[in-house]
Protein backbone atom coordinates (compact mmCIF):
# COMPACT_ATOMS: atom_id res chain seq x y z
CA UNK A 1 0.00 0.00 0.00
CA UNK A 2 1.26 3.45 -0.87
CA UNK A 3 0.11 6.10 1.55
CA UNK A 4 -0.70 9.49 0.14
CA UNK A 5 1.49 12.25 1.53
CA UNK A 6 -1.42 14.19 3.07
CA UNK A 7 -2.85 11.10 4.68
CA UNK A 8 0.50 10.05 6.05
CA UNK A 9 0.77 13.40 7.78
CA UNK A 10 -2.53 12.87 9.55
CA UNK A 11 -2.32 9.14 10.12
CA UNK A 12 0.82 8.92 12.13
CA UNK A 13 2.00 5.99 14.16
CA UNK A 14 -0.11 7.01 17.15
CA UNK A 15 -3.38 6.77 15.24
CA UNK A 16 -2.42 3.36 13.93
CA UNK A 17 -1.90 2.20 17.49
CA UNK A 18 -5.19 3.83 18.48
CA UNK A 19 -6.94 2.00 15.63
CA UNK A 20 -5.57 -1.28 16.81
CA UNK A 21 -6.52 -0.66 20.42
CA UNK A 22 -10.01 0.38 19.32
CA UNK A 23 -10.52 -2.73 17.25
CA UNK A 24 -9.23 -4.90 20.07
CA UNK A 25 -11.70 -3.30 22.49
CA UNK A 26 -14.61 -3.95 20.12
CA UNK A 27 -13.47 -7.54 19.56
CA UNK A 28 -13.41 -8.00 23.32
CA UNK A 29 -16.99 -6.70 23.60
CA UNK A 30 -18.06 -9.13 20.90
CA UNK A 31 -16.20 -11.94 22.61
CA UNK A 32 -17.99 -11.03 25.84
CA UNK A 33 -21.27 -12.03 24.18
CA UNK A 34 -19.82 -15.45 23.34
CA UNK A 35 -18.27 -15.73 26.79
CA UNK A 36 -21.61 -15.01 28.46
CA UNK A 37 -23.31 -17.92 26.73
CA UNK A 38 -20.33 -20.16 27.40
CA UNK A 39 -20.44 -19.15 31.06
CA UNK A 40 -24.17 -19.91 31.29
CA UNK A 41 -23.65 -23.38 29.84
CA UNK A 42 -20.57 -24.00 31.97
CA UNK A 43 -22.19 -22.98 35.26
CA UNK A 44 -25.41 -24.90 34.59
CA UNK A 45 -23.62 -28.08 33.55
CA UNK A 46 -21.05 -27.90 36.35
CA UNK A 47 -23.53 -27.24 39.13
CA UNK A 48 -26.17 -29.72 38.01
CA UNK A 49 -23.50 -32.44 38.14
CA UNK A 50 -24.28 -33.82 41.63
CA UNK A 51 -27.96 -34.24 40.75
CA UNK A 52 -27.11 -35.84 37.42
CA UNK A 53 -24.78 -38.31 39.14
CA UNK A 54 -27.34 -39.10 41.82
CA UNK A 55 -30.41 -39.63 39.64
CA UNK A 56 -29.32 -39.82 35.99
CA UNK A 57 -32.05 -39.92 33.39
CA UNK A 58 -34.55 -41.07 36.03
CA UNK A 59 -34.65 -37.46 37.26
CA UNK A 60 -37.09 -36.57 34.48
CA UNK A 61 -39.25 -39.69 34.83
CA UNK A 62 -39.67 -39.77 38.61
CA UNK A 63 -42.77 -37.94 39.77
CA UNK A 64 -42.01 -37.52 43.45
CA UNK A 65 -40.59 -34.18 44.63
CA UNK A 66 -39.85 -34.43 48.32
CA UNK A 67 -36.85 -32.31 49.33
CA UNK A 68 -37.19 -33.28 53.00
CA UNK A 69 -36.54 -36.93 52.19
CA UNK A 70 -34.12 -36.06 49.39
CA UNK A 71 -36.38 -37.46 46.68
CA UNK A 72 -36.14 -35.42 43.52
CA UNK A 73 -38.20 -36.18 40.42
CA UNK A 74 -38.85 -33.42 37.91
CA UNK A 75 -41.76 -34.97 36.04
CA UNK A 76 -44.51 -32.85 37.70
CA UNK A 77 -42.67 -29.67 36.65
CA UNK A 78 -42.04 -30.85 33.11
CA UNK A 79 -45.70 -31.81 32.90
CA UNK A 80 -46.86 -28.46 34.29
CA UNK A 81 -44.64 -26.50 31.91
CA UNK A 82 -45.82 -28.47 28.89
CA UNK A 83 -49.52 -28.39 29.77
CA UNK A 84 -49.63 -24.70 30.68
CA UNK A 85 -47.70 -23.73 27.53
CA UNK A 86 -49.84 -25.94 25.32
CA UNK A 87 -52.99 -24.49 26.84
CA UNK A 88 -51.63 -21.00 26.23
CA UNK A 89 -50.99 -21.82 22.57
CA UNK A 90 -54.47 -23.29 22.20
CA UNK A 91 -55.98 -19.98 23.32
CA UNK A 92 -53.42 -17.58 21.86
CA UNK A 93 -52.95 -18.96 18.35
CA UNK A 94 -56.46 -18.38 16.93
CA UNK A 95 -56.69 -14.99 18.63
CA UNK A 96 -53.27 -13.84 17.41
CA UNK A 97 -53.89 -14.95 13.84
CA UNK A 98 -57.32 -13.29 13.93
CA UNK A 99 -55.81 -10.00 15.06
CA UNK A 100 -53.02 -10.21 12.49
CA UNK A 101 -55.47 -10.98 9.67
CA UNK A 102 -57.72 -8.13 10.74
CA UNK A 103 -54.87 -5.60 10.88
CA UNK A 104 -53.31 -6.55 7.56
CA UNK A 105 -56.33 -7.49 5.44
CA UNK A 106 -59.50 -5.94 6.78
CA UNK A 107 -59.07 -2.90 8.92
CA UNK A 108 -59.19 0.67 7.63
CA UNK A 109 -55.70 2.06 7.08
CA UNK A 110 -56.00 4.72 9.79
CA UNK A 111 -56.65 2.02 12.42
CA UNK A 112 -53.69 -0.10 11.42
CA UNK A 113 -50.86 1.50 13.38
CA UNK A 114 -52.78 2.29 16.60
CA UNK A 115 -54.03 -1.29 16.64
CA UNK A 116 -50.60 -2.83 16.33
CA UNK A 117 -49.34 -0.33 18.88
CA UNK A 118 -51.95 -1.47 21.40
CA UNK A 119 -51.25 -5.14 20.82
CA UNK A 120 -47.53 -4.55 21.23
CA UNK A 121 -48.21 -2.59 24.41
CA UNK A 122 -49.25 -5.94 25.89
CA UNK A 123 -45.63 -7.02 25.48
CA UNK A 124 -44.38 -4.05 27.50
CA UNK A 125 -46.29 -4.96 30.67
CA UNK A 126 -43.94 -6.63 33.17
CA UNK A 127 -44.65 -10.24 34.05
CA UNK A 128 -45.14 -9.42 37.74
CA UNK A 129 -47.87 -6.90 36.87
CA UNK A 130 -49.66 -9.59 34.83
CA UNK A 131 -49.41 -11.82 37.88
CA UNK A 132 -50.81 -9.14 40.18
CA UNK A 133 -53.74 -8.53 37.86
CA UNK A 134 -54.31 -12.26 37.47
CA UNK A 135 -54.43 -12.85 41.23
CA UNK A 136 -56.95 -10.12 41.94
CA UNK A 137 -59.02 -9.94 38.75
CA UNK A 138 -58.62 -13.03 36.58
CA UNK A 139 -58.67 -15.69 39.30
CA UNK A 140 -61.92 -14.39 40.92
CA UNK A 141 -63.57 -14.30 37.48
CA UNK A 142 -62.46 -17.89 36.91
CA UNK A 143 -63.64 -19.21 40.27
CA UNK A 144 -66.95 -17.35 40.21
CA UNK A 145 -68.04 -17.65 36.61
CA UNK A 146 -65.88 -19.52 34.09
CA UNK A 147 -64.89 -22.58 36.09
CA UNK A 148 -68.40 -23.38 37.45
CA UNK A 149 -69.74 -22.97 33.91
CA UNK A 150 -67.07 -25.20 32.37
CA UNK A 151 -67.54 -27.73 35.17
CA UNK A 152 -71.26 -27.94 34.47
CA UNK A 153 -70.99 -28.20 30.70
CA UNK A 154 -67.72 -30.05 30.15
CA UNK A 155 -67.10 -31.61 33.54
CA UNK A 156 -67.80 -35.09 32.14
CA UNK A 157 -64.58 -34.96 30.06
CA UNK A 158 -62.50 -34.98 33.23
CA UNK A 159 -60.50 -31.93 32.15
CA UNK A 160 -62.80 -29.54 34.00
CA UNK A 161 -63.40 -31.47 37.15
CA UNK A 162 -63.17 -30.59 40.83
CA UNK A 163 -63.68 -27.52 42.99
CA UNK A 164 -63.38 -24.18 41.15
CA UNK A 165 -60.75 -22.43 43.28
CA UNK A 166 -59.53 -20.25 40.44
CA UNK A 167 -55.86 -20.78 41.28
CA UNK A 168 -55.16 -23.51 38.72
CA UNK A 169 -53.43 -24.75 35.62
CA UNK A 170 -56.23 -23.08 33.65
CA UNK A 171 -55.43 -19.67 35.15
CA UNK A 172 -51.75 -20.13 34.25
CA UNK A 173 -52.67 -21.09 30.69
CA UNK A 174 -54.90 -18.04 30.24
CA UNK A 175 -52.41 -15.52 31.63
CA UNK A 176 -49.64 -17.08 29.50
CA UNK A 177 -51.89 -16.80 26.46
CA UNK A 178 -52.38 -13.07 27.05
CA UNK A 179 -48.60 -12.67 27.39
CA UNK A 180 -47.64 -14.49 24.18
CA UNK A 181 -50.35 -13.00 21.94
CA UNK A 182 -48.26 -9.91 21.07
CA UNK A 183 -45.32 -12.09 19.97
CA UNK A 184 -47.31 -14.46 17.78
CA UNK A 185 -49.48 -11.73 16.31
CA UNK A 186 -46.64 -9.34 15.47
CA UNK A 187 -44.66 -12.09 13.72
CA UNK A 188 -47.78 -13.26 11.88
CA UNK A 189 -48.47 -9.68 10.79
CA UNK A 190 -44.93 -9.32 9.48
CA UNK A 191 -45.19 -12.58 7.58
CA UNK A 192 -48.60 -11.73 6.11
CA UNK A 193 -47.27 -8.41 4.89
CA UNK A 194 -44.55 -10.02 2.80
CA UNK A 195 -47.07 -12.19 0.93
CA UNK A 196 -46.99 -10.62 -2.54
CA UNK A 197 -49.94 -8.49 -3.59
CA UNK A 198 -50.52 -10.46 -6.77
CA UNK A 199 -51.42 -13.55 -4.73
CA UNK A 200 -54.34 -11.64 -3.29
CA UNK A 201 -55.32 -10.14 -6.63
CA UNK A 202 -55.21 -13.52 -8.34
CA UNK A 203 -57.55 -15.04 -5.77
CA UNK A 204 -59.98 -12.13 -6.04
CA UNK A 205 -59.90 -12.28 -9.84
CA UNK A 206 -60.97 -15.91 -9.67
CA UNK A 207 -64.09 -14.79 -7.86
CA UNK A 208 -63.03 -15.57 -4.32
CA UNK A 209 -64.72 -13.81 -1.45
CA UNK A 210 -62.45 -11.86 0.89
CA UNK A 211 -62.18 -14.72 3.36
CA UNK A 212 -61.42 -17.21 0.58
CA UNK A 213 -58.75 -14.83 -0.67
CA UNK A 214 -57.22 -14.67 2.83
CA UNK A 215 -57.36 -18.42 3.30
CA UNK A 216 -56.06 -19.49 -0.10
CA UNK A 217 -53.94 -16.53 -1.14
CA UNK A 218 -52.51 -15.26 2.12
CA UNK A 219 -52.57 -17.73 5.03
CA UNK A 220 -51.51 -20.71 2.92
CA UNK A 221 -48.49 -18.82 1.58
CA UNK A 222 -47.48 -17.61 5.00
CA UNK A 223 -47.86 -20.97 6.74
CA UNK A 224 -44.21 -21.64 7.62
CA UNK A 225 -43.72 -18.13 8.99
CA UNK A 226 -46.86 -18.33 11.12
CA UNK A 227 -45.69 -21.64 12.53
CA UNK A 228 -42.37 -19.95 13.30
CA UNK A 229 -44.20 -17.20 15.19
CA UNK A 230 -46.18 -19.78 17.14
CA UNK A 231 -43.02 -21.63 18.13
CA UNK A 232 -41.42 -18.35 19.21
CA UNK A 233 -44.47 -17.77 21.41
CA UNK A 234 -44.03 -21.28 22.79
CA UNK A 235 -40.43 -20.45 23.67
CA UNK A 236 -41.60 -17.47 25.66
CA UNK A 237 -44.35 -19.45 27.39
CA UNK A 238 -41.97 -22.24 28.45
CA UNK A 239 -39.61 -19.87 30.25
CA UNK A 240 -42.18 -17.46 31.67
CA UNK A 241 -41.90 -17.37 35.44
CA UNK A 242 -43.55 -14.75 37.62
CA UNK A 243 -47.12 -14.53 36.36
CA UNK A 244 -47.39 -18.32 36.27
CA UNK A 245 -45.89 -18.74 39.73
CA UNK A 246 -48.49 -16.35 41.12
CA UNK A 247 -51.56 -18.20 39.83
CA UNK A 248 -50.70 -21.86 39.19
CA UNK A 249 -50.92 -22.98 42.82
CA UNK A 250 -47.42 -24.43 43.07
CA UNK A 251 -48.18 -28.02 43.93
CA UNK A 252 -45.95 -30.71 42.41
CA UNK A 253 -48.74 -33.07 41.39
CA UNK A 254 -49.88 -34.38 38.07
CA UNK A 255 -53.64 -33.93 37.74
CA UNK A 256 -55.82 -34.46 34.71
CA UNK A 257 -58.19 -31.65 35.62
CA UNK A 258 -57.21 -28.14 34.55
CA UNK A 259 -58.92 -26.84 37.70
CA UNK A 260 -56.25 -28.50 39.85
CA UNK A 261 -53.12 -26.63 40.88
CA UNK A 262 -49.84 -27.46 39.16
CA UNK A 263 -46.22 -26.41 39.13
CA UNK A 264 -43.83 -25.48 36.31
CA UNK A 265 -40.07 -25.78 35.89
CA UNK A 266 -39.62 -22.02 36.02
CA UNK A 267 -41.87 -21.53 39.04
CA UNK A 268 -40.20 -24.22 41.16
CA UNK A 269 -36.94 -22.35 40.57
CA UNK A 270 -38.56 -19.07 41.57
CA UNK A 271 -40.05 -20.51 44.76
CA UNK A 272 -37.43 -22.88 46.06
CA UNK A 273 -34.04 -21.78 44.75
CA UNK A 274 -33.16 -19.27 47.45
CA UNK A 275 -34.31 -21.62 50.22
CA UNK A 276 -32.73 -24.80 48.89
CA UNK A 277 -30.69 -26.41 51.61
CA UNK A 278 -28.14 -29.05 50.75
CA UNK A 279 -26.06 -29.57 47.65
CA UNK A 280 -28.28 -32.17 45.99
CA UNK A 281 -31.41 -30.03 46.37
CA UNK A 282 -29.72 -26.99 44.83
CA UNK A 283 -28.16 -29.13 42.15
CA UNK A 284 -31.52 -30.71 41.29
CA UNK A 285 -33.02 -27.24 40.84
CA UNK A 286 -30.11 -26.18 38.63
CA UNK A 287 -30.60 -29.31 36.54
CA UNK A 288 -34.21 -28.21 35.99
CA UNK A 289 -32.81 -24.83 34.92
CA UNK A 290 -30.42 -26.54 32.51
CA UNK A 291 -33.26 -28.56 30.97
CA UNK A 292 -35.35 -25.40 30.61
CA UNK A 293 -32.40 -23.64 28.99
CA UNK A 294 -31.79 -26.42 26.46
CA UNK A 295 -35.47 -26.72 25.51
CA UNK A 296 -35.91 -22.97 24.97
CA UNK A 297 -32.75 -22.80 22.85
CA UNK A 298 -33.93 -25.59 20.56
CA UNK A 299 -37.41 -24.08 20.32
CA UNK A 300 -36.10 -20.58 19.56
CA UNK A 301 -33.60 -21.78 16.97
CA UNK A 302 -36.34 -23.73 15.20
CA UNK A 303 -38.64 -20.69 15.18
CA UNK A 304 -35.95 -18.40 13.82
CA UNK A 305 -35.14 -20.75 10.96
CA UNK A 306 -38.84 -20.97 10.01
CA UNK A 307 -39.51 -17.22 10.11
CA UNK A 308 -36.26 -16.52 8.31
CA UNK A 309 -37.03 -19.03 5.54
CA UNK A 310 -40.32 -17.30 4.73
CA UNK A 311 -39.23 -13.67 4.89
CA UNK A 312 -36.05 -14.42 2.95
CA UNK A 313 -37.80 -16.37 0.17
CA UNK A 314 -40.41 -13.67 -0.22
CA UNK A 315 -37.80 -10.93 -0.34
CA UNK A 316 -35.94 -12.82 -3.07
CA UNK A 317 -39.19 -13.52 -4.91
CA UNK A 318 -40.23 -9.88 -4.97
CA UNK A 319 -36.89 -8.87 -6.49
CA UNK A 320 -37.15 -11.43 -9.28
Amino acid sequence: MVALPAASLLRGKSSEVADRVFKLAMVLCGAAVLATLALIVYELVLRSGPSWHAFGMKFFIADEWDPVNAKFGALPFVYGTLVSSFLALLIAVPLSIGVAVFTTEMCPVFLRSPLSFFVELLAAIPSVVYGLWAIFVLVPILSNYLEPFLGKTLGWTGFFDGPPYGISMLAAGIILAIMIIPIISSITREVLMVVPRHQREAALALGATRWEMIRVGVLRNARAGIVGGIILGLGRALGETMAVTMVIGNRPEIAKSLFAPGYTMASVLANEFSEATGDVYLSALIEIGLALFLVTIVVNALARVLVWSVTRNQAVGSHA
Binding site: D19, F22, A31, F102, S127
Partner: protein, 294 residues
Protein backbone atom coordinates in the same frame (compact mmCIF):
# COMPACT_ATOMS: atom_id res chain seq x y z
CA UNK B 1 -74.66 4.09 -22.02
CA UNK B 2 -72.94 1.10 -23.66
CA UNK B 3 -70.77 0.95 -20.54
CA UNK B 4 -73.81 0.28 -18.37
CA UNK B 5 -75.12 -2.45 -20.59
CA UNK B 6 -71.79 -4.19 -20.46
CA UNK B 7 -71.75 -4.00 -16.65
CA UNK B 8 -75.30 -5.32 -16.41
CA UNK B 9 -74.20 -8.21 -18.60
CA UNK B 10 -71.55 -8.95 -16.03
CA UNK B 11 -74.25 -9.13 -13.39
CA UNK B 12 -75.70 -12.11 -15.14
CA UNK B 13 -72.78 -14.13 -13.84
CA UNK B 14 -74.43 -16.23 -11.11
CA UNK B 15 -74.04 -14.49 -7.73
CA UNK B 16 -71.66 -15.92 -5.16
CA UNK B 17 -73.36 -18.78 -3.40
CA UNK B 18 -75.12 -17.87 -0.17
CA UNK B 19 -73.05 -20.31 1.84
CA UNK B 20 -69.79 -18.68 0.71
CA UNK B 21 -71.10 -15.23 1.50
CA UNK B 22 -72.19 -16.31 4.96
CA UNK B 23 -68.79 -17.88 5.63
CA UNK B 24 -67.15 -14.64 4.50
CA UNK B 25 -69.24 -12.55 6.88
CA UNK B 26 -68.81 -14.98 9.76
CA UNK B 27 -65.04 -14.99 9.38
CA UNK B 28 -64.93 -11.20 9.18
CA UNK B 29 -67.00 -10.94 12.32
CA UNK B 30 -64.76 -13.53 14.00
CA UNK B 31 -61.60 -11.55 13.32
CA UNK B 32 -63.19 -8.36 14.60
CA UNK B 33 -64.16 -10.31 17.69
CA UNK B 34 -60.57 -11.53 18.24
CA UNK B 35 -59.41 -7.91 18.26
CA UNK B 36 -61.85 -7.10 21.04
CA UNK B 37 -60.93 -10.22 23.01
CA UNK B 38 -57.22 -9.40 22.77
CA UNK B 39 -57.59 -5.72 23.65
CA UNK B 40 -59.95 -6.38 26.58
CA UNK B 41 -57.22 -7.59 29.01
CA UNK B 42 -54.97 -4.70 27.98
CA UNK B 43 -57.56 -2.11 28.91
CA UNK B 44 -58.63 -4.09 31.95
CA UNK B 45 -55.05 -4.18 33.25
CA UNK B 46 -54.47 -0.47 32.77
CA UNK B 47 -57.88 0.41 34.18
CA UNK B 48 -57.23 -1.67 37.31
CA UNK B 49 -53.72 -0.25 37.71
CA UNK B 50 -55.05 3.29 37.66
CA UNK B 51 -58.17 2.50 39.70
CA UNK B 52 -56.44 0.47 42.42
CA UNK B 53 -53.02 2.11 42.30
CA UNK B 54 -53.87 5.78 42.14
CA UNK B 55 -55.73 5.73 45.45
CA UNK B 56 -52.74 4.19 47.25
CA UNK B 57 -50.04 6.48 45.97
CA UNK B 58 -49.24 9.29 48.35
CA UNK B 59 -46.21 11.06 49.69
CA UNK B 60 -45.62 8.37 52.31
CA UNK B 61 -45.62 5.65 49.66
CA UNK B 62 -42.90 7.45 47.72
CA UNK B 63 -40.77 8.57 50.68
CA UNK B 64 -41.03 5.91 53.41
CA UNK B 65 -39.77 2.38 53.86
CA UNK B 66 -42.18 -0.53 54.53
CA UNK B 67 -43.88 -0.66 57.94
CA UNK B 68 -44.01 -3.94 59.87
CA UNK B 69 -46.93 -6.27 59.13
CA UNK B 70 -50.16 -5.04 60.67
CA UNK B 71 -49.26 -1.37 60.69
CA UNK B 72 -50.77 0.63 57.89
CA UNK B 73 -48.86 3.26 55.98
CA UNK B 74 -45.27 3.09 54.95
CA UNK B 75 -44.09 2.92 51.38
CA UNK B 76 -41.68 1.60 48.83
CA UNK B 77 -39.09 4.38 48.72
CA UNK B 78 -36.28 1.88 49.37
CA UNK B 79 -37.52 -0.37 46.56
CA UNK B 80 -37.72 2.52 44.10
CA UNK B 81 -34.17 3.61 44.96
CA UNK B 82 -33.02 -0.03 44.95
CA UNK B 83 -34.44 -0.57 41.47
CA UNK B 84 -32.60 2.53 40.26
CA UNK B 85 -29.33 1.26 41.76
CA UNK B 86 -29.70 -2.21 40.21
CA UNK B 87 -30.71 -0.80 36.83
CA UNK B 88 -27.78 1.64 37.06
CA UNK B 89 -25.34 -1.22 37.61
CA UNK B 90 -26.93 -3.19 34.77
CA UNK B 91 -26.62 -0.21 32.41
CA UNK B 92 -23.02 0.53 33.38
CA UNK B 93 -22.07 -3.05 32.47
CA UNK B 94 -24.53 -3.80 29.70
CA UNK B 95 -24.64 -0.62 27.61
CA UNK B 96 -20.91 -0.26 26.77
CA UNK B 97 -20.46 -3.99 26.13
CA UNK B 98 -23.63 -4.15 24.04
CA UNK B 99 -22.76 -1.09 21.95
CA UNK B 100 -19.15 -2.29 21.60
CA UNK B 101 -20.28 -5.68 20.35
CA UNK B 102 -22.71 -3.94 17.98
CA UNK B 103 -19.89 -1.78 16.62
CA UNK B 104 -17.74 -4.87 16.15
CA UNK B 105 -20.50 -6.63 14.20
CA UNK B 106 -21.26 -3.64 11.98
CA UNK B 107 -17.71 -2.47 11.29
CA UNK B 108 -15.51 -5.57 11.50
CA UNK B 109 -17.92 -8.49 11.77
CA UNK B 110 -18.46 -9.75 8.23
CA UNK B 111 -16.75 -13.06 9.02
CA UNK B 112 -17.30 -16.38 10.80
CA UNK B 113 -16.51 -14.87 14.21
CA UNK B 114 -19.10 -12.15 13.60
CA UNK B 115 -21.72 -14.69 12.54
CA UNK B 116 -21.14 -16.73 15.67
CA UNK B 117 -21.61 -13.60 17.80
CA UNK B 118 -24.85 -12.78 15.96
CA UNK B 119 -26.16 -16.28 16.52
CA UNK B 120 -25.11 -16.25 20.18
CA UNK B 121 -26.84 -12.91 20.77
CA UNK B 122 -30.08 -14.33 19.34
CA UNK B 123 -29.75 -17.42 21.53
CA UNK B 124 -29.08 -15.28 24.62
CA UNK B 125 -32.19 -13.27 23.84
CA UNK B 126 -34.31 -16.39 24.22
CA UNK B 127 -32.79 -17.65 27.48
CA UNK B 128 -35.48 -17.61 30.20
CA UNK B 129 -34.82 -14.82 32.69
CA UNK B 130 -34.94 -17.20 35.64
CA UNK B 131 -32.03 -19.17 34.15
CA UNK B 132 -30.04 -15.95 33.88
CA UNK B 133 -30.78 -15.48 37.58
CA UNK B 134 -29.30 -18.90 38.39
CA UNK B 135 -26.11 -18.03 36.54
CA UNK B 136 -25.74 -14.65 38.24
CA UNK B 137 -26.28 -16.45 41.54
CA UNK B 138 -23.57 -18.97 40.70
CA UNK B 139 -21.08 -16.33 39.57
CA UNK B 140 -21.63 -13.41 41.94
CA UNK B 141 -23.64 -14.55 44.96
CA UNK B 142 -21.65 -17.71 45.60
CA UNK B 143 -18.34 -15.87 45.38
CA UNK B 144 -19.52 -12.95 47.55
CA UNK B 145 -21.29 -15.36 49.90
CA UNK B 146 -24.40 -13.16 50.13
CA UNK B 147 -27.13 -11.63 47.97
CA UNK B 148 -26.38 -8.19 46.56
CA UNK B 149 -27.49 -5.41 44.24
CA UNK B 150 -24.35 -6.15 42.23
CA UNK B 151 -25.56 -9.69 41.50
CA UNK B 152 -28.95 -8.34 40.41
CA UNK B 153 -27.23 -5.79 38.18
CA UNK B 154 -25.10 -8.50 36.55
CA UNK B 155 -28.19 -10.62 35.85
CA UNK B 156 -30.02 -7.71 34.22
CA UNK B 157 -26.90 -6.69 32.27
CA UNK B 158 -26.72 -10.19 30.74
CA UNK B 159 -30.30 -9.69 29.58
CA UNK B 160 -29.63 -6.21 28.14
CA UNK B 161 -26.54 -7.04 26.10
CA UNK B 162 -28.06 -9.10 23.24
CA UNK B 163 -30.83 -6.58 22.52
CA UNK B 164 -28.42 -3.63 22.51
CA UNK B 165 -25.89 -5.51 20.36
CA UNK B 166 -28.34 -6.38 17.62
CA UNK B 167 -30.08 -2.99 17.46
CA UNK B 168 -26.74 -1.14 17.48
CA UNK B 169 -25.51 -3.27 14.59
CA UNK B 170 -28.70 -2.67 12.62
CA UNK B 171 -28.57 1.08 13.20
CA UNK B 172 -24.88 1.39 12.27
CA UNK B 173 -25.45 -0.55 9.05
CA UNK B 174 -28.09 2.02 8.08
CA UNK B 175 -25.40 4.74 8.01
CA UNK B 176 -24.37 5.15 4.36
CA UNK B 177 -20.93 3.84 3.38
CA UNK B 178 -20.16 7.10 1.64
CA UNK B 179 -20.11 8.89 4.98
CA UNK B 180 -17.39 6.56 6.28
CA UNK B 181 -15.46 6.87 3.04
CA UNK B 182 -15.65 10.64 3.18
CA UNK B 183 -14.14 10.53 6.67
CA UNK B 184 -11.36 8.14 5.61
CA UNK B 185 -10.72 10.43 2.64
CA UNK B 186 -10.13 13.30 5.04
CA UNK B 187 -7.53 11.18 6.77
CA UNK B 188 -9.52 10.66 9.93
CA UNK B 189 -8.43 7.46 11.66
CA UNK B 190 -10.83 4.56 11.69
CA UNK B 191 -11.63 4.60 15.41
CA UNK B 192 -12.41 8.30 15.23
CA UNK B 193 -14.61 7.78 12.18
CA UNK B 194 -16.56 5.03 13.89
CA UNK B 195 -17.12 6.96 17.09
CA UNK B 196 -17.58 10.52 15.83
CA UNK B 197 -19.16 9.93 12.43
CA UNK B 198 -20.89 6.54 12.23
CA UNK B 199 -22.02 6.15 15.83
CA UNK B 200 -22.87 9.84 16.04
CA UNK B 201 -25.10 9.60 12.98
CA UNK B 202 -26.87 6.53 14.36
CA UNK B 203 -27.21 7.95 17.89
CA UNK B 204 -30.99 8.15 17.96
CA UNK B 205 -31.42 4.57 16.78
CA UNK B 206 -28.81 3.24 19.19
CA UNK B 207 -30.42 5.06 22.11
CA UNK B 208 -33.81 3.67 21.14
CA UNK B 209 -32.31 0.18 21.26
CA UNK B 210 -30.79 0.87 24.67
CA UNK B 211 -34.13 2.11 25.97
CA UNK B 212 -35.93 -0.97 24.65
CA UNK B 213 -33.46 -3.15 26.51
CA UNK B 214 -33.82 -0.97 29.60
CA UNK B 215 -37.62 -1.11 29.54
CA UNK B 216 -37.47 -4.87 29.11
CA UNK B 217 -35.30 -5.48 32.17
CA UNK B 218 -36.82 -2.76 34.37
CA UNK B 219 -39.85 -4.92 35.09
CA UNK B 220 -37.94 -8.18 35.44
CA UNK B 221 -38.51 -9.99 38.70
CA UNK B 222 -37.36 -13.56 38.18
CA UNK B 223 -33.62 -12.85 37.81
CA UNK B 224 -33.65 -10.72 40.98
CA UNK B 225 -35.26 -13.31 43.26
CA UNK B 226 -32.00 -14.91 44.27
CA UNK B 227 -29.55 -12.18 43.31
CA UNK B 228 -30.75 -8.84 44.72
CA UNK B 229 -33.11 -10.82 46.98
CA UNK B 230 -35.04 -7.85 48.39
CA UNK B 231 -34.79 -5.90 51.62
CA UNK B 232 -37.34 -4.23 53.89
CA UNK B 233 -34.91 -1.49 54.89
CA UNK B 234 -32.87 1.28 53.37
CA UNK B 235 -29.74 0.09 51.66
CA UNK B 236 -27.51 1.77 49.11
CA UNK B 237 -24.53 -0.54 49.57
CA UNK B 238 -24.25 -2.49 46.34
CA UNK B 239 -22.77 -5.45 48.21
CA UNK B 240 -25.85 -5.98 50.36
CA UNK B 241 -29.29 -7.46 49.62
CA UNK B 242 -31.33 -4.71 48.00
CA UNK B 243 -35.04 -4.10 47.50
CA UNK B 244 -36.39 -3.71 43.98
CA UNK B 245 -39.79 -2.52 42.88
CA UNK B 246 -40.79 -5.70 40.96
CA UNK B 247 -39.65 -7.91 43.86
CA UNK B 248 -41.64 -5.85 46.33
CA UNK B 249 -44.74 -6.04 44.12
CA UNK B 250 -44.34 -9.83 43.95
CA UNK B 251 -43.87 -10.29 47.69
CA UNK B 252 -46.79 -8.02 48.53
CA UNK B 253 -49.11 -9.53 45.91
CA UNK B 254 -48.74 -13.07 47.27
CA UNK B 255 -48.99 -11.92 50.91
CA UNK B 256 -52.28 -12.31 52.79
CA UNK B 257 -52.55 -8.66 53.92
CA UNK B 258 -54.95 -6.16 52.34
CA UNK B 259 -52.68 -3.25 53.16
CA UNK B 260 -49.83 -4.92 51.25
CA UNK B 261 -52.12 -5.73 48.29
CA UNK B 262 -52.99 -2.04 48.11
CA UNK B 263 -49.31 -1.15 48.05
CA UNK B 264 -48.61 -3.80 45.41
CA UNK B 265 -51.06 -2.06 43.07
CA UNK B 266 -49.49 1.30 43.82
CA UNK B 267 -46.04 -0.17 43.18
CA UNK B 268 -47.18 -1.67 39.88
CA UNK B 269 -48.55 1.69 38.77
CA UNK B 270 -45.29 3.42 39.71
CA UNK B 271 -43.31 0.75 37.83
CA UNK B 272 -45.37 1.10 34.66
CA UNK B 273 -45.21 4.91 34.82
CA UNK B 274 -41.42 4.78 35.31
CA UNK B 275 -40.97 2.46 32.33
CA UNK B 276 -43.27 4.45 30.06
CA UNK B 277 -41.83 7.86 30.99
CA UNK B 278 -38.24 6.62 30.63
CA UNK B 279 -38.97 5.38 27.12
CA UNK B 280 -41.08 8.39 26.15
CA UNK B 281 -38.60 10.92 27.52
CA UNK B 282 -35.74 9.45 25.53
CA UNK B 283 -37.88 9.22 22.39
CA UNK B 284 -38.76 12.91 22.67
CA UNK B 285 -35.18 13.92 23.45
CA UNK B 286 -33.80 11.90 20.56
CA UNK B 287 -36.37 13.24 18.12
CA UNK B 288 -35.62 16.79 19.14
CA UNK B 289 -31.91 16.10 18.83
CA UNK B 290 -32.14 14.76 15.31
CA UNK B 291 -34.38 17.59 14.19
CA UNK B 292 -31.91 20.05 15.69
CA UNK B 293 -29.06 18.44 13.80
CA UNK B 294 -30.96 18.29 10.53
Amino acid sequence: MPETTRISALHQVPPIALRRRIVDHVMTAASVLTVFIVLAPLFAIFAYLVYKGLGSINLAFLTQTPKPVGESGGGMANAIVGSCVILGIASVIGVPVGIGAGIYLAEFGRNRFGDSIRFTADVLNGVPSIVVGIVAYAIVVLSQRHFSALAGGVALAIMMIPTITRTTEEMLLLVPRSLREAAYGLGIPRWRTTLSITLRTATSGVITGVMLAFARVAGETAPLLFTAFGNQFWNVNINQPTAALPLQIFNYAISPYDEWHRQAWAGALVLIVLIVTAVAAVRVAVRRGTFGAA
